[in-house]
Amino acid sequence: MRRLPFVVIAFALVAFALSPVFGQSLTAAQQANLKASLAVDTSVLKSADGQQLLAPSKDNRKVPARPADPNKLAETDPLHWYDMEWAGWNVTPTNTPKSPGDGAIGKKVIMIVHGDHPWTTACILGAKKVADMYKWNFKALSPNWDKVVQDQLIDQAINEKPDMILLIPLDAKAAVQQARKINAAGVPLHMFNTLPEAAALNYSLGWTGPDDFGQFRLLARAWSDELVKRNPGAGTIGVAYVQHAPGGSPYFARSFGPISELATYNPKIKTLVMASPTPATFDANTTMQLVSDWLTKYGKDLKGICASDDSAQSLGIFQALEKAGRTDVVVVAAGNSKQGMDLVKDGKLFAITYQTAEGDGALAAQTAADWFNGKGYPIRKNLAQHIITKADVEKFYPPQW
């Protein structure tokens, strides 16, 4: 009998020492919450266009080995863009918080987006659909395209001590310090939509979003096939790129993605010019002026235009083409807004990417929920890829934004 207290203490010590092996011990309430959270089925959710909100990606490409110095490779070499296209696959996570594993229901999550835009509204709506399923205390903040304000919002979000911050970095390079700061404050971070520099993913649980490079490689192939079809026997086919706002990953992915893809897929296609409309990147009038100048300069040599946006930019492009009386130019763009889909339906835009705004927000939220539920965390997860043409555009109505 005298030994009994020692046996009990020894047993307790062993159990305590082994507890990390078997996972953190949860209270009965936490266990119940985890059970209820795991029972939540978000696969039934639909986006406004009738598509499955969380459609799985069918992309099964293998991650290539990183070149010793990607910057030394030519910009037409796909591997030059390795640190953007494949950002995150080679990171060493630093001080990554461990999942509480106590269930996603009832968590406090703050989403910080990049700016006000109909796309962003749809994206927040998608995240909210998932947040509502898990009964989150959910808040979305927008810096309205101002990086300085985004830094302030990050500080304010940290002040609120949320269970997680979901962040769309406004600038790929500035994202490194933003992620460092959130990580240092002990708040779990998930980045989504725009790809940060690879170093930023050292401090983030992971990244989800559209595979902009991958989508534009697919788009480039469809565009190239159509250009060849419309210009049989042409020695070279001149094209131009209306770029995204400088700084973010779409700026590179939506111009150098197709350029580096076409360098091998169809070397006959030559880039004549590329530029971002200034001062307003997403303004029809500014884009119209830019493209009108190109049409004057290159005339009939300009056979194709690839736009970073299928709404304002594409409208501006078609205004310029109509003014110049050109109907032979093959235009493709990143999608998929109502204007873009209407242009595809009218036979003006040849193709757009299927970039689900609601799905983007929803995937970030779902990945966070999976982490709260103690599931494995992918360092990167892409949205499903698809190219919309006149053949299947009807399937995507009504548009998300």
């Binding site: 006000d116 304000v149 830094d151 500035a174 310090q177 520099e197 700084g247």
Partner: protein, 343 residues
């Protein structure tokens, strides 16, 4: 005892401080998590760039001029700091960036004073030229430095030296105190007000008006550059839109602070108090859980107030131009005294 009129006048004179206290009290009482050390540190850190920029901008406005190039000078200095760092180190690149800001200010000042072109036109031109130069220099991409050194600098600038006070806040405080002292306590400082109040009178009083205005533009260029430099050191990256939104923000804050667009009136401390007030308001809105649309709505309301108030101030100034109210009061008093004696 003060009359109602003089109290109103006093309230008008110090309206920014009244507004500051009102917003502070309202948000502290009602906005969740507003009244915390972390939140105030965040607000102070957040205002450092625009507050630093507002120092020089206010002096330019006191001189009766406008400097529309401040936003692009911020970006220009940021891009130079990060872009030249691999070649010159931080000491060299920061020096070049601040010198660059001073040169832009000098060019603005000389063009305004020597060619007599309106400062609005001159600085609009400088802004556009600088924008082009920035895109040329950076190749349209943000510039970042991700070495341990820059992370250490960034961490240091955001580290609390005292409660609420980080080095980046301290830099702004030192600049505000120094320029406010010059404006209030030195002859050179008073010259800015005299030149802004009436340039011809200032010239007749023997003040070198051209030099004073040029000095104001140089100061504006330097403070805008310092704002840009500190901002990029904190974020470790220079984005090409860094200073894009600062122009309207700083103009609004400077006018709300009581600096007259017509010149001759105002102060640096008032502009900084206005920036602080705006930031507290915006932070409170976010902490209330309200969206960006509410923030934009309030920003619009404030801008409308600023425009209306400025229009009213000009109207009042024109209406009372040449009037001498104290003389009228004295005459009325004498008449009353004379009437008393007669009785």
């Amino acid at each position: 005892m003060r009359s109602r009129g003089s109290l109103l006048s006093l309230g008008d004179r110090y309206r920014i401080y009244v507004l500051f206290v009102a917003v502070f009290a309202f948000m502290s009482l009602l906005s969740p998590k507003f009244f915390t050390v972390y939140n105030f540190t965040t607000i102070l850190n957040a205002i450092t760039m625009n507050a630093t920029v507002a120092i020089g901008f206010t002096v330019v406005m006191i001189c009766g001029q406008l400097d529309l190039s401040i936003g692009t000078v911020i970006t220009f200095a940021g891009v130079l700091t990060m872009g030249l760092q691999p070649y010159l180190g931080f000491a060299g690149s920061i020096a070049v960036a601040v010198l660059g800001g001073a040169i832009v200010g000098l060019v603005n000042g000389l063009l305004v004073t020597k060619t007599r072109i309106n400062s609005f036109i001159v600085t609009l031109g400088t802004m556009t030229i600088l924008q082009g130069s920035i895109y040329q220099f950076s190749g349209g991409n943000s510039i970042s430095v991700t070495t341990d050194q820059v992370f250490a600098i960034s961490d240091f600038l955001g580290k609390n030296l005292l409660p609420l006070i980080t080095p980046r806040v301290l830099i702004t405080i030192i600049l505000v105190v120094a320029v406010e002292f010059i404006l209030r306590r030195t002859r050179a400082g008073r010259d800015f007000y005299i030149v802004g109040g009436n340039r011809s009178t200032a010239w007749l009083a023997g003040i070198n008006t051209d030099r004073t205005i040029t000095a104001a533009f140089v100061l504006s260029g330097v403070t805008a550059a310092i704002g840009g430099v500190v901002s990029v050191l904190v974020s470790t990256a220079a984005t090409l839109k860094l200073g894009e939104n600062s122009l309207m923000y700083v103009i609004s804050a400077t006018i709300i602070g009581g600096t007259a667009m017509s010149g001759g009136k105002g102060g640096v401390l008032r502009s900084v108090a206005a920036i602080m007030t705006l930031e507290m308001l915006y932070t409170g809105i976010i902490l209330f859980g309200l969206g960006n649309e509410v923030k934009i709505f309030f920003a619009g309301l404030i801008l409308a107030y600023v425009v209306l108030y400025e229009a009213y101030a000009v109207y009042r100034h024109e209406k009372t131009l040449g009037q001498r109210p104290w003389l009228m009061k004295e005459l009325a008093a004498r008449q009353a005294a004379g009437a008393g004696k007669k009785r």
